[in-house]
Symmetry: C2
Subunit: 374 residues, 2 copies
C-alpha cells in the first residue's frame, strides 16, 4: 500500500528521523507532539492559541466523546473539526486505553469491551468495528484500532493472550474501515516481552496499516524498560510508516524516544502540570508557587519565546496561581505546550542537520544548570 509518510532525513549515527505525514487536514512534520484535547478541547486553549504555539495536530479521545456529547451529535455538526473549530489534523485514540484504565468497570471478551460509563454508570459496549465507525463519525484524520492494553507487570500468558486478541481486533478494524480517506493505525502490544512485541509487529504489519503505534508503554515500567521496548519495536517496524509511542511523556522521554526512531507522541503532562503550576523550562521544572518567585521579574523560561514568557513575570504567574485565577491555567498551558511543541521543532532541525546526538547532549547539559532567579 502507498504510505502517507515520507522520510525526509535519517540521522547517520542513531535512529532519529524526520519526515512528514499527509492527512485530510494537512501535512504534519515529524517528530511531532500532539496536545491532548480529550473532550473536544485542549484544556484552556482556543484553536488560535494552539496555532500560535505551533501545534500541528491534536488528539481527541474516542471514549470520552462517545459518552459525551456522543459521536452522532458530532457527526450531525459535520465532524469534530467543525464542532470544535479546529481545522488542522486530529488523531483520535480508539478508547482502548481509557477502557483499560476503568479496570474492574470494564470486561474484555472476544467480541469487544463492555464497560460502565464514568458519567452515569450505564453499561456500554464497544467492539473493534464500533471503534472504527465512531471514529469515522468523528471524522478524525488518524484513527486508532481498538486494542487491549497490558498492565505492568503482567504474566507472559496474560501478555500473550492480550497481544493475540489485539491482533484479531486489528484485523476486524481494518475490515470495518470504509474508504473515507482517514488513516488507520495499528497498535503494537506485547507487554515488556521482546518476543511478543516482535510477534505483534508481525501481526500488525501483515494486516498493513497507515502507521503503527507502540501501545502499553508508560504504564508503570521503569524508564529504561520503556526505552528498550521502544528501541526494539521501532527498529522492527517498517521505515515507510510513522511510528507513534502513545501517552509519552516527559521532555526526556521525547528526546530518548526520538533517538530510538519514534515520530509521534501525545501526553497530558504539559497541560495537566500547567494547571497544577508546574512549568517545563529548558533548565528543568519550575514550581511556580514556590516563595522564591514572589518578586521574580524574569519570565518562566528566559530561553522561551512563547506569549506567556514574552509578556509576564514569574511574580505575576505566581500571583495568578496563588489567587486561583483561570488565567494561571491559560498562561501556564500556553507556556508548557509551547515548550513541548518547540522541543520537537528543535529536534526536527537537529535531525535535518544530522546533529541529533549533539542536540541530545546539549539538552541534558542545559538541564544540569540551576534555574536562575533574581
Amino acid at each position: 500500500m502507498k504510505s502517507s509518510y515520507t522520510l525526509l532525513s535519517q540521522s547517520s549515527r542513531c535512529a532519529a528521523r524526520a519526515g512528514e505525514i499527509r492527512t485530510l487536514h494537512g501535512t504534519i512534520q515529524t517528530p511531532v507532539f500532539m496536545p491532548v484535547g480529550t473532550q473536544a478541547t485542549v484544556k484552556g486553549m482556543t484553536p488560535e492559541n494552539l496555532l500560535a504555539i505551533g501545534a500541528q495536530i491534536i488528539l481527541a479521545n474516542t471514549y470520552h466523546l462517545f459518552l459525551r456529547p456522543g459521536h452522532t451529535l458530532i457527526q450531525q455538526f459535520g465532524g469534530l473539526h467543525k464542532f470544535m473549530n479546529w481545522d488542522g489534523p486530529i488523531l483520535t485514540d480508539s478508547g482502548g486505553f481509557q477502557i483499560y484504565s476503568l479496570k474492574e468497570l470494564a470486561r474484555i471478551t472476544e467480541e469487544g469491551a463492555t464497560f460502565k460509563s464514568h458519567l452515569d454508570g450505564s453499561t456500554l459496549f464497544l467492539s473493534p468495528e464500533d471503534a472504527v465507525s465512531v471514529q469515522e463519525a468523528l471524522g478524525s484524520d488518524i484513527m486508532m484500532c481498538l486494542d487491549t492494553c497490558i498492565p505492568y507487570p503482567a504474566s507472559r500468558e496474560e501478555a500473550s493472550n492480550a497481544t493475540a486478541l489485539t491482533a484479531r481486533w486489528a484485523e476486524r478494524c481494518r475490515k470495518a474501515q470504509r474508504p473515507t480517506g482517514q488513516l488507520l493505525f495499528g497498535i503494537v502490544q506485547g507487554g515488556m516481552y521482546p518476543d511478543l512485541r516482535a510477534r505483534s509487529v508481525e501481526d500488525m504489519t501483515s494486516i498493513g496499516f497507515d502507521g503503527y503505534a507502540l501501545g502499553g508503554l508508560s504504564v508503570g515500567e521503569p524508564s529504561e524498560v520503556m526505552y528498550e521496548m521502544t528501541a526494539q519495536t521501532a527498529a522492527l517496524l517498517p521505515y515507510e510508516f510513522p511510528k507513534y509511542v502513545m501517552g509519552v511523556g516527559t521532555p526526556e522521554d521525547l528526546v530518548e524516544c526520538v533517538f530510538r526512531g519514534v515520530d509521534m507522541f501525545d501526553c497530558v503532562m504539559p497541560t495537566r502540570n500547567a494547571r497544577n503550576g508546574m512549568l517545563f523550562t529548558s533548565r528543568g521544572r519550575l514550581v511556580i508557587k514556590n516563595a522564591c518567585y514572589y518578586n521574580d521579574p524574569l519570565p518562566a523560561d528566559e530561553n522561551c519565546g512563547c506569549y506567556t514568557c514574552r509578556n509576564y513575570s514569574r511574580a505575576y504567574l505566581r500571583h495568578l496561581y496563588m489567587a486561583k485565577e483561570i488565567l494561571a491555567s491559560l498562561l501556564n498551558t500556553i507556556h508548557n505546550l509551547h515548550y513541548f511543541v518547540n522541543l520537537m521543532k528543535q529536534m526536527r532541525m537537529a535531525i535535518s542537520a544530522d546533529r541529533f546526538e549533539e542536540f541530545r547532549r546539549e539538552f541534558y547539559e542545559m538541564r544540569e544548570q540551576e534555574i536562575p532567579t533574581v
Copy 2:
C-alpha cells in the same frame, strides 16, 4: 479646576449623554462599561481578549491587591499596568465596598477601617490616606476615595452619620493625593434619602474631584428606588465631570442609568454569570446547560459578532459547560463582556444621533421576543 471630561453629545429629550475622559493611559468614550479585574486579571481573559471585545478600561480592586500580592510588590514592577500586561486605562476602587461586604469582620472609626483579611484572618487597617497611597502605588488612572457604604435598609441617622464620615474621609483623600496625574473621584453616599444624597453631592463638589461616583446603590433596594436615586443624584452633579454608578448592573440597569445621565459602570455580572453558564443576548438571558441547546447549531446570539458567536454553536458551548471545561468559561466570558461593551457602544451611537429614546424602546422590544432555537 480643569476637567478631564468632555461632553460630546447631550440627548434632547432625556439625560443620556456621550463624552470622553482623558486619562494617563488614553481616552475613554462614555458611556462606558468597565470589566472587573479584581485580582489584576479579568477572570479568564488575556489583555488581547479584552482589546478584541472592545474593552476601553478595566477595574481592579484595591482591597484584594492590598492583601495579595501587595501594592508594594506591584509598585516594584512599575505598577499594575506592567504587572498585568494591560496598557489601557485602569480604575481602582478604594476598598470601601469590600470592607463594607466584610460586615462584622470590619470596624469603621473616624480614623479609618480596621478589618480582618479574608485570606489569613490577620487584622489590617486602611485610612483614607492609605487608600490613596495604595492606589498611587498601583498606578491606576482613576482612583476612588475611601467611603463608607450604607446598607439597605438603613435608618436616617445611620445614613446621615455615614454620609458625613464619607465627606470627611473624602477631604482627607484629596489632601493626601500627590501630583501623579492620576484622577481621583469622590463617592456620593446618602443611602436612599434624597436630601442626604443632595447633601453628599454638595460635600463632594465643594471639595472638588475629577469625577463623581454614586455609591451605595444595588445593595438590595428595589430597581425603581435605585433608578430614582440615580436620576436625582446625577441631575445634581455638575455636567462637566464624569458620573459613575458603582457595581451596576444588568443590561436593563445600564440602559436605565444611561437614560438618567450616568457615564460609567462596572459589574461582575457578565464575567461571573459567564462562568455559571448564563449568556446575555439581545433577546434576554440564555442558560446554556438547558437540554434544548443539546444539538442547537445557532450561535449564542444571532445578533452578536463576538469571537464566540462567530465560531461556536450553542451545542458546543453546552458540551463544554457540561464537561466542566475551562474553555466554557473563556468563551462565555468573551461573549458576555462583548455583549456589555457593545451595548454601551450602541448607546453611544444612539446618543450621538440623538435617538436614545428610540434605542431604549427597541432594546425592550427585542427582549420581549423569544430566543429562537432550531
